[in-house]
Symmetry: C2
Subunit: 532 residues, 2 copies
């Protein structure tokens, strides 16, 4: 068999059965192999950023990687921003990039570029096999590298508390077409290590001691088990528990203890952590500001707060440790859940910042996957509005590279075909990867996209002020304003094969959102927001 077949069979042996592809000439052997060896679902994306974002969304929901299939350096380049997000989210991704045949590379032909260097900016592992027999084993190593990140020896501190990473396999075309390939077997996933007793003991002593302590939880700790354990600790000791502003994946809603996200702004975090003498990181990194501003600190922990870690480094079972901690400080106790608030009541009024989130909170279907790239529009509203909605998962913009929302929705919907996906997407970043809508249509995915159209890069208006840039005039304003002309997202969605409607009032949004949940396939609702 040829190298491409060995690659495909190795992926299948490792239960990698989904491939988000934008192939080119150098990937044609892999494409052809899909017909000879069924089991891999090839999903065409019309831009590489859609493929990489979809792979991120898929693995956030399954915990197991999808493959991408990208064409040479420029194809990889187009997918880098969403691989950056996957890296920051700690998502396992097997990123496959085709390259020129070995004999062809020295000719420096038009698409030649430094694939290895570009891949290294987002990958914890980069390899290019050197002969056809290597392709299978290297593909297995890529799966292992994607899954086993965060295990001992991993030095990428951005992934603390998560267990996935981007691994990039660069496959020269001649290895794909040459015979001599041999598929590799399934790799064994290394298990997480148990947090040592003395570490759990010392955190328990801290929490039950006289000083004020808080937990900052991330990664696997934000699932149902971790949050119930944290809530038990809270009930017994009063210890507050927080999560990052936009975690990679967070369980929320009815029956799930609510964790407070840290504020996006440093002054907000300083308020949240005021009086906290000890901050315990549970699979989380020490919080830092998204940006530096003149005269403001970049670290968010108050100077008087001491930082501790429940696990000494990455690769530990933090959910197990949290549960043991709860068993120590609250033996036998169950988490106390607040009484559900009444479902938000929807009165008919023009849509604006805030009230759109009430509609989503009132109508969110059971077990929804909420993909949150609402940015400014959701920042201080979405969390409260959906806290008592039916239980759901939220996938957030952890890496802050915009253009993730629509592609992550594609991957999440393919990962969980029986769950509704709700994509809350800011207008400013929607166009980055808009062709994800076409893939939603082709694959008939149950995704309801709500475009939060405030017709500006709203976050930049605030930032302009915060960096001390002073009063703006027409020239600066033209770079923040997304009007002139207004973008009609319903027309764009229709052009890409997705049914679309426009809502200007809360009642219209409610009616259209409920209708989208009833009808199969993708829908887009453009929520036109009035200035607050």
């Amino acid at each position: 068999m040829n190298g491409a077949e060995a690659l495909l069979l190795t992926l299948l042996n490792n239960d990698v059965t989904m491939c988000f592809a934008n192939p080119g000439t150098s990937e044609m052997q892999f494409v052809a192999a899909l017909d000879r060896h069924p089991g891999m679902r090839g999903v065409l994306c019309l831009f590489e950023g859609v493929a990489t974002g979809a792979a991120d969304g898929y693995a956030r929901m399954t915990g197991h990687p999808a493959a991408t299939l990208l064409h040479l350096g420029p194809g990889l380049a187009n997918g880098l921003a969403n691989l950056h997000n996957a890296r920051r989210a700690g998502t396992p991704v097997v990123n496959i990039v085709g390259d020129y045949a070995g004999s062809h590379k020295p000719l420096d032909s038009p698409l030649e570029s430094d694939i290895d260097a570009a891949a290294a900016t987002v990958s914890s592992w980069v390899r290019r096999p050197s002969e056809p027999a290597d392709v299978g084993p290297d593909a297995a190593a890529a799966v292992a590298a994607a899954l086993d990140a965060g295990v001992p020896g991993d030095t990428d501190r951005s992934r603390t508390g998560t267990s996935g990473a981007v691994s990039t396999l660069i496959v020269p075309a001649d290895l794909s077409w040459s015979q001599g390939g041999r598929p590799a077997k399934r790799v064994t996933r290394r298990s997480l290590r148990s947090v040592p007793d003395h570490d759990v003991d010392s955190i328990a002593a801290l929490i039950t001691g006289p000083e004020t302590t808080a937990l900052l939880i991330d990664g696997a700790g934000l699932g149902e088990d971790g949050l119930h354990a944290a809530a038990r600790v809270h009930k017994a000791t009063g210890t507050q528990f927080f999560c990052p502003t936009w975690p990679a994946r967070l369980r929320r809603g009815a029956g799930v203890p609510e964790v407070q996200p840290l504020n996006y702004r440093s002054e907000g975090v300083h308020q949240q952590l005021e009086g906290v003498q000890h901050l315990v990181l549970v699979g989380a990194r020490e919080p830092v500001a998204s940006f530096a501003y003149p005269g403001r600190p970049s670290t968010l922990t108050p100077p008087s707060t001491t930082v501790h870690r429940l696990a000494p480094e990455a690769g530990f079972d933090i959910v197990g440790a949290l549960t043991r901690l709860a068993d120590m400080v609250a033996p036998g106790g169950a988490a106390s859940l607040p009484d559900p608030l009444a479902t938000p009541r929807i009165t008919d009024e023009p849509l604006r910042t805030g009230n759109w989130a009430q509609v989503i909170g009132a109508l969110l279907p059971r077990e929804a996957i909420v993909v949150d790239e609402s940015i400014t529009e959701g920042m201080n509203t979405l969390s409260a509005a959906t806290a008592y909605a039916p239980a759901h998962d939220v996938l957030g913009l952890k890496g802050l590279a915009i253009g993730q929302g629509l592609p992550v929705s594609v991957g999440a919907a393919l990962a969980c075909p029986d769950r509704p996906v709700v994509c809350l997407q800011a207008d400013g970043s929607a166009l980055y990867t808009i062709s994800a809508l076409w893939t939603q249509a082709r694959e008939e995915l149950n995704v309801t996209t709500v475009i939060l159209n405030n017709r500006s890069y709203a976050i930049l208006r605030a930032e302009l002020d915060r960096v001390g840039a002073g009063r703006t005039g027409q020239a600066a304003e033209s770079l923040l304003d997304l009007g002139r002309p207004d973008i009609d997202f319903t027309a764009i969605a229709t052009g890409l094969g997705v049914a679309a409607s426009r809502a200007r009032t809360t009642a219209e949004l409610a009616e259209q959102f409920a209708g989208a949940q009833r009808a199969p396939g993708p829908h887009l609702i453009e929520a036109v927001l009035q200035p607050a």
Copy 2:
């Protein structure tokens, strides 16, 4: 003044007056400075690939760089593919990327990534100033690096025959907001060196000798002066002259001697060069195949052909050398131009491969700028159909990274507001950077985009066969087919503020194309092509 102002004033001192921007927080000081120091036109692009492609198109037409303004590593990543194209085209681009403040970088906050490594994959020059006083001088050095590529000492052989390159200036946010900036003066552009007499003499001897010689011209040689000189040589000696398949910029049409583009396929090139004993490179690189295929050579020059160079290395005045060559072998002779063929006659028939190009050839306005990303649809048809149209410039996909057409059109239209721009855009790559249409609308650019909608990645169907991948079934086919659902480009264009129509016959295309030329502002025509 702060560093951002020093940057802006240095650019203005160097006649860099156009900035294609997708800014973020770290670039807000520069944005604010635009109001305090007029002279720079900030053009908002809704995706970084639009900004970098527009900068490429602008400088291809002006010969002078525009600036970009990109946000951190992910913003740069999104712009890389079109910077790759600019690099391959030899276009000068001053690529400005904001970065975190120096004190903030060690915190590894969410958007942190290796900007320098990513920039190096497309740039001949990368620098980050280390204090506010450096920003101005480093910006001047960036302009010099963008303009002076190809001068002696430049070792990037991809730019032979051109004089531009991508230079990347990485500006930490704290240098932008801190005082101590000082603008730098205008840099002196180094002039091209004259090709030594003995080199011109030896080529003249070759051409006038008994053996068959051909010229392969690229870069500045493809302007009107170079082509007239080549035509004089041809008239006097019978020497054929060729250019690459898709040059960065080529002068064509009535009154311009026609140069034959090399075929995209190696077997076509072998036919074109059959019997050529000496191939003289005039600002061109030795031709290589775009891709390797099993059993086919990657080099295109026949084994029996000896390769020569008119200029010994990059940085020489090849137009002057070509003219001197013509003066030697054809003293006083004028180029002989073939009689113009009749304008193609348009009969009303369904649009398909080939006949759409006849319509463009018949109706192309005077001094049009034709941005050619027609790929498969234009490969063997466009050149002949437009050879006798009014004189025009063609901007081609030299770097082969798709998604260049719409952004390059934006830049070309801003560079030459009095010239009509015609963008011939394949459907498969149109969605990569579709939001360029919005910038066309906002800036009211006279661009007519013709989407050549064959509803497939047509080039990949051919490639699948050429790489020996064998018969394809449904799985492979689904990755090449752009139908299911069909994309409605008129709806998408309307959503982005561009007037749009659909043509299914040659008569409809002719009517709509002529109408678009008469009305100001951008238009999009979706040409729905029947299978050939």
